[in-house]
Symmetry: C2
């Protein structure tokens, strides 16, 4: 390497390190516009490329802005929005009405949402979410997104009001959204991380400091702390900056500060880039965080799956018609139907003497099979090896190394309660009626190791109903906007399934419109 080249790259690396070091060591590193030479000028800079970012970008372009960029730190676009199931809740959708559900309303949807949020939802934000659901669906359809005709119900909802994409995956919705963005002249730039906001002397956010050619280290669980790659650049954002940078469930350090049972080994369902870096950037910019304590777990996962995996749907049936057993003792070990928090705590309480995790095995006989409404769920899970099928209970016990005699005794005891028509099991207070009187005993048998994975962060930066980020003086920080999972307050204590992609659409679009209407910075 030439000396000159070495110097250049050496400086770039140092620049990165110095910057990161200062910021993360807690010296607020909000950059002053007067110290900066802009490398590029945009009408608005959007951080992220998921559903919230893309809806913001589309709306900004549709409202007449010309120079709109989405900046994505990862080597791929779409964040969690590309891997989500994209189930979405729409009261009074044509699909819902055609299905015969005519008594739903935004009011009822709001009631369910506030109930799940235990009243901690920002009432204005929750109202926007629920009352803009139908127009959000119409918007998606206008851009060419397709949904399956049959609505269904999810936990916590009082009505059948959820829709799923025709092709069941978020990417099928994200493709038309991204296409619209590009057709309208928007620019998508990947491998570029936004590190800091830049403020003018009045305190207005007028741009961002980024690193181009950033290489997110997917193999590292500490990427945000150690990654110094990339070349510093400054982008001016004349109308404002929109953070749509997603949640932080994959930031084990931040999550473990909040909930100490979370460790470096705790798995999650999210894409690797779901870290707390952008949230910290917003906090350094003066934004106030809310509800960071509320982290949603998915106790319908398996340690034999990667991420959310293939077994999540089958898992619910196995819980309902089967039971969970400790492989070490062969004994039933908890209430399989406890709520997400209870069940997650129970799952992780099963520890070996050396402190390592032991996973309960869900066991059911063959009688649940005809109940699995969509057969492909079971096939998928069996094919992936997450659910396993055995001709006999003996073979199952042998495979999972469960002592057979105690296991048999436990199943007999359990069957006994069912026979007696008990409402709750006397050991863990599990409701027994949901299994509809099925006495376990008819092979083939099914086994499935159970775990809970980190899934979603309810908390984030506080915004108002115009998506302006709220500062420490409880007023909006001029020029700074946020939407989607990076914000907190919409959902309160618990987000309902299907409310998060809707969140991204509703508040992403509001952000795009608000920025389009904003005054230009000088």
């Amino acid at each position: 390497m030439q000396k000159r080249e070495f110097l250049k790259s050496g400086l770039a690396a140092l620049g990165g390190l110095g910057f990161l070091g200062a910021a993360r060591a807690g010296v607020p590193a909000v950059t002053k516009a007067s110290d900066v030479r802009w490398d590029e000028e945009w009408d608005t800079v959007i951080v992220g490329s998921g559903v919230a970012a893309t809806c913001a970008g589309n709306e900004a372009l549709d409202q007449g802005l010309k120079k709109v960029i989405m900046v994505e730190k990862m080597p791929v676009f779409g964040g969690n929005s590309a891997i989500t199931g994209f189930w979405i809740n729409i009261p009074r959708s044509p699909e819902q009405l055609a299905h015969g559900v005519t008594d739903d309303s935004p009011e009822l949807f709001l009631k369910d949402t506030l109930k799940a949020g235990e009243g901690f939802n920002d009432p204005k934000l929750a109202h926007e979410l629920c009352f803009r659901a139908l127009e959000s669906l119409e918007y998606l359809k206008k851009l060419g997104c397709k949904f399956a005709p049959t609505p269904f119900i999810q936990g916590g909802h009082s009505k059948v009001r959820s829709l799923a994409p025709e092709v069941s995956a978020g990417v099928s919705v994200m493709i038309p959204l991204h296409r619209h963005f590009m057709e309208k002249g928007g620019v998508m730039r990947k491998n570029t991380i936004v590190d800091e906001v830049v403020k003018d002397d009045s305190g207005r956010v007028v741009g961002v400091a980024v690193r181009e050619n950033y290489a997110f280290d997917i193999g590292s669980r500490d990427n945000d702390l150690t990654n110094t790659t990339g070349v510093r650049k400054y982008y001016k954002a004349k109308k404002g900056v929109i953070f749509a940078a997603g949640g932080f469930v994959n930031d084990w350090r931040m999550c473990s500060l909040i909930d100490p049972k979370i460790t470096k080994e705790t798995e999650g369902t999210n894409h690797p880039g779901a870290t707390a870096g952008a949230l910290f950037t917003l906090m350094r910019a003066g934004g106030v965080p809310v509800h960071l304590s509320y982290i949603q777990w998915g106790p319908w996962c398996s340690p034999d799956d990667k991420g959310i995996g293939m077994g999540a749907d089958v898992c619910d049936y196995l819980k309902q018609y089967g039971a969970a057993f400790d492989p070490k003792t062969g004994r039933r070990c908890f209430n399989e139907l406890g709520n997400r928090t209870e069940l997650t705590n129970d799952i992780f309480a099963l520890k070996n003497e050396d402190g390592t995790q032991r996973f309960a095995v869900l066991i059911a006989d063959s009688q649940f099979v005809p109940k699995v409404s969509i057969e492909r769920y079971l096939t998928k899970s069996l094919n992936s090896g997450t659910t396993k099928k055995f001709d006999t209970l003996e073979a199952l016990a042998d495979f999972y190394k469960i002592p057979l005699e105690p296991l048999k005794a436990e199943i007999a005891k359990y069957n006994g309660w069912i026979k007696e028509g008990k409402e709750f099991d006397p050991e863990f207070h599990r409701p027994l009626t949901p299994n509809e009187g099925v006495l376990m005993g008819k092979g083939p048998w099914y086994g499935h190791r159970l775990t809970s994975k980190l899934h979603y962060t309810m908390g984030g930066i506080k915004i108002n109903e115009k998506t302006q980020v709220i500062g420490q003086n409880f007023e909006p920080i001029p020029g700074l906007y946020a939407a989607g999972e990076i914000t907190g307050g919409v959902h309160g204590v618990t987000r309902l399934g299907g409310n998060s992609v809707l969140d991204g659409i509703v508040f992403g679009r509001i952000a795009g419109r608000t920025v389009a209407e904003a005054e230009e910075a000088k």
Copy 2:
């Protein structure tokens, strides 16, 4: 006023305003040491003058530091610690053993603490809390604090392990603590607010920016946002700065961001200075907050009392042997024995058509009186007018303007369930057995309006077990320490009664020792 004087005070005011404005508008205002001329030099500067601050100061002095100052923004010293009941939990205290409770232990105490925290407690912090309880009591006694001989039990504790001061108030403990501080040469300075930390080029905290002659505006609910009084000064802290600035329950704006049912009108039990200003200062300094979502209510208060008032103890008896009625309809209105969160929600759900609050009236007949273990509770509450006594139910109904006939019918219905021996009331699922079969009907009658007041913030800035403040890189911020209610993580979701003053003693003392051992800044 002379022109010269006007200029001076004008500048001072502007200085204050500019400073505040910048900070609270979200421009991080951490000051650089190189920009500062120190007005004073200290070994350590302690922010606050409550139990955590004073224990920190005492320990720092006892470890040999000479120049130690406690800086208090209010016109009086002591914060919440001066108005607390100072009930404190000590497993294996001489008082507990003498009382015949010999099977308690720090381990059991820790178990109770973690259970109330729902496992969200930082395990190391909770361990310190519980295992240093006994030495904390010995420490207080050594300094001359006196406790009543009879231990008692509080909710959530599995053992009789709480002690109360001999003279029942925090001030009786704070006086000997402050005395020791002054005898050892510590300096206490009031009417002085700490606004910002000052960092050197390495990012180490080396001092603070304060305003002397600060006049906290007790009449304002927005003091932190509008108060520009005081004269800027800079204090160097060679060994470090300890924030022991208390909780933020009296910051209605911050609390209402977290929980929208909290408004400017919501009352609290805390001293007026319990605002979020110091927490925001720590966040601007790069500290990571945890568990801010968890705010503790006291649904054992009355709108006819100021603060925690005189009726809190009687309230529990009235709930147990009586019931709560809606004064508008005369009907019973909720489960009086729901947990703090449920009951608080129920209390505030009772609204007039115009949205204003209506307060339920607790009503009991005379049969609870002999149960009030300490008679003075009732006398105090009657004398303060919080609980009211009436010869007849008619007189009571007349006073509170409750429609008499429905009220009578409701009491008869309630008595009916008791007579039938029902375990739970069929309307609100209140457990009925705690009232021990008492049928209401024997005058005189007692009435007491019920509300819930904001009481304590579980959340705050994250520290480690050395009381070092944790920064965004998850490492300690050099030179920055915190202890007491301003920190988060010790208690998790719910703090047990009597665990907070202990928190202040344990971590205040650790902070004092850690700072004494710290290297000096250059």
